[in-house]
Symmetry: C2
Subunit: 351 residues, 2 copies
């Protein structure tokens, strides 16, 4: 039942180097000062055997696995993929390995992953929870250092990395209003995400400040799927009085909206402007290129690891003065998909 006979242990290295296992350990972790002489012998033996210490055994002994766990909704969404890249890079730089799990936005799976990661005795978990109203269900009774990213639990004192969703969403909506748009529709994903709630709030504020009504028929709650944006888009564009601009609250939904415009052969931005949250690679390649709000995805990942490590080093599992909240900035990139509102002339032509 042994795994591989070709896997060496520190005892093998010690024997070959003619020292004790403890000394090998000391050399490998350059702990106490080992004499140059023995140190060299040990290193030669390590190299000769191609030995690398068993991290699992080390973890068992030290109580730290040096593994960071991560739970995200869906790695195939470029938004999460880029955050993950940031996390991985930062983790490795600090000597940690990463274990990523996809929850598919299912609370049950989310929990199962959290428990699996706990069973693995990861040192901490970075999580993007899909339901910000029931975050407590996520936390194992036995506290593991946790950092939330992006979508975070509401009204909870926790470590998290957030972005200025309200602010940038308001700013982006104002961009549309400045272009003359009055009938601005918005399609969100699941409203269980704190991010969606905040982005909608930004939209509301901009509308309110411009004294524009937020008409329910222009506010569509979708899901994080392309089909959702497609159907929502078709529904909006088929209204007796269709919107002149559509604001998609994430990249999946936006993809669906673009498809809706294509199917209905509605020119963008001539007849309808489109703006989206997220700024995936393809935003600039589309015709027209898409006005988009870029989130600091990579940096979110890096910051999450930094905060987690900070929290790991604190005695109580939180940073010194309680949970810390880091806010990063998103920014709007105006491109070709948003233009001046269609002139009435165009409607005249249509009739």
């Amino acid at each position: 039942m042994k795994k591989r006979k070709t896997t060496y242990t520190m005892a093998d290295v010690a024997r070959l180097a003619g020292v004790s296992a403890g000394t090998v350990s000391n050399v490998l972790n350059n702990r106490t000062v080992v004499s140059k002489h023995l140190s060299k012998r040990v290193q030669d033996a390590v190299a000769a055997l191609g030995f690398s210490p068993d991290r699992g055994a080390r973890g068992l002994r030290t109580g730290r696995t040096h593994i960071i766990g991560m739970v995200i909704p869906d790695i195939t969404n470029p938004h999460y993929a880029e955050i993950t890249r940031g996390v991985e890079d930062a983790a490795i730089e600090n000597g940690y390995e990463l274990m990523v799990c996809n929850s598919r936005r299912q609370a049950e799976l989310e929990q199962r992953h959290m428990h699996a990661l706990r069973a693995q005795r990861v040192d901490g978990i970075i999580v993007n929870c899909s339901n910000c109203y029931h975050p407590r269900d996520l936390l194992p009774r036995y506290d593991l250092p946790l950092v939330f990213v992006g979508a975070v639990p509401m009204k909870s004192k926790i470590n998290c990395i957030v972005t200025n969703n309200v602010e940038v969403s308001q700013e982006a909506t104002e961009h549309l209003i400045r272009l003359g748009h009055r009938r601005i529709a918005i399609i969100s994903a699941e409203m269980t995400y704190s991010t969606m709630i905040e982005r909608l709030e930004g939209y509301r504020r901009a509308m309110a400040e411009a004294a524009l009504p937020v008409e329910p028929k222009y506010v569509v709650e979708g899901a994080t799927e392309i089909e959702s944006g497609l159907h929502g888009g078709i529904k909006l564009l088929s209204l007796p009085e269709p919107p002149t601009a559509i604001y998609a609250l994430n990249n999946r939904v936006a993809l669906g909206v673009m498809q809706a415009l294509k199917e209905l052969r509605i020119p963008c931005p001539e007849q309808v402007s489109v703006m989206m949250f997220d700024d995936p690679d393809w935003a600039r390649s589309f015709s027209p290129s898409i006005t988009a709000i870029e989130q600091p995805t990579y940096q979110i990942g890096v910051s999450a690891v930094q905060l987690l490590l900070k929290s790991l080093r604190s005695p109580d599992g939180n940073v010194e003065h309680g949970p810390e909240q880091v806010e990063l900035k998103s920014c709007l990139h105006v491109r070709e998909s948003t233009g001046p509102v269609a002139q009435e002339l165009k409607f005249a032509i249509g009739t």
Copy 2:
């Protein structure tokens, strides 16, 4: 130096249930038949404490960590992201956890990750190597079960999941030829990938069978970056005799080609047709929607895990009769971006 005092051990469970640790282990792994009576008591104790056994300790003891490692070039590329999804789902279904590493197409990083995974004592590794000519450098001296996916080492007897690149690429090129195209350009990514070599070969065969010359000026070797497709596309389209069709060998390059068309204001497919390998979400949302070759990405991931597990269960680390090669099928989706070759009339108009 203990990690968390709130983490219980099997001894705690045993004490609470009034049994021995061995019995707890037996219940948890339903090994030998434990009496209903004690079994219940143990399960209650486990539930009461929220106990879950330390996988690291178990791994140390059993010699199997039940972790699968994975090394891919870049998780932010939808192609790899979808393979990863398949791998994760299949892994979890079989009681394995997953550790994914990004190599950024750097051989050095690729190796470092392989070693890190070995140090973690993963049970096997799934790898998409970026240089199919030097795969041996990847293998640690101490053999770990390995399964290659997609880009595989050339001329090596190894476990791998491949696709019918040559065949489908030939078929796709024939599609362009049937549309009347004669000047068909092709932009590849790094030719160190076996996939690129095979896709180019398919193109060559189709051209040869149609008695069309493969002109060097129409064969561009790029890199897996959008910029690469952009510059390659601009270069091709600026030729005195530009191609009437461009075939991009992966989704990143294709994105760049679309951007080139946009910048040069060249109508697609009226003047230039575009076809690409890979079929990411956005292919159908583009205007025009893009003719694309879909790879069975998710299934590649699932198959890779299946083959790895099969190999893990074999005594010699390989499947019964030596390494196994599984071939899956890709398929062409004809969409709007490929059309009949531009009539000479259009050129006349241009002059």
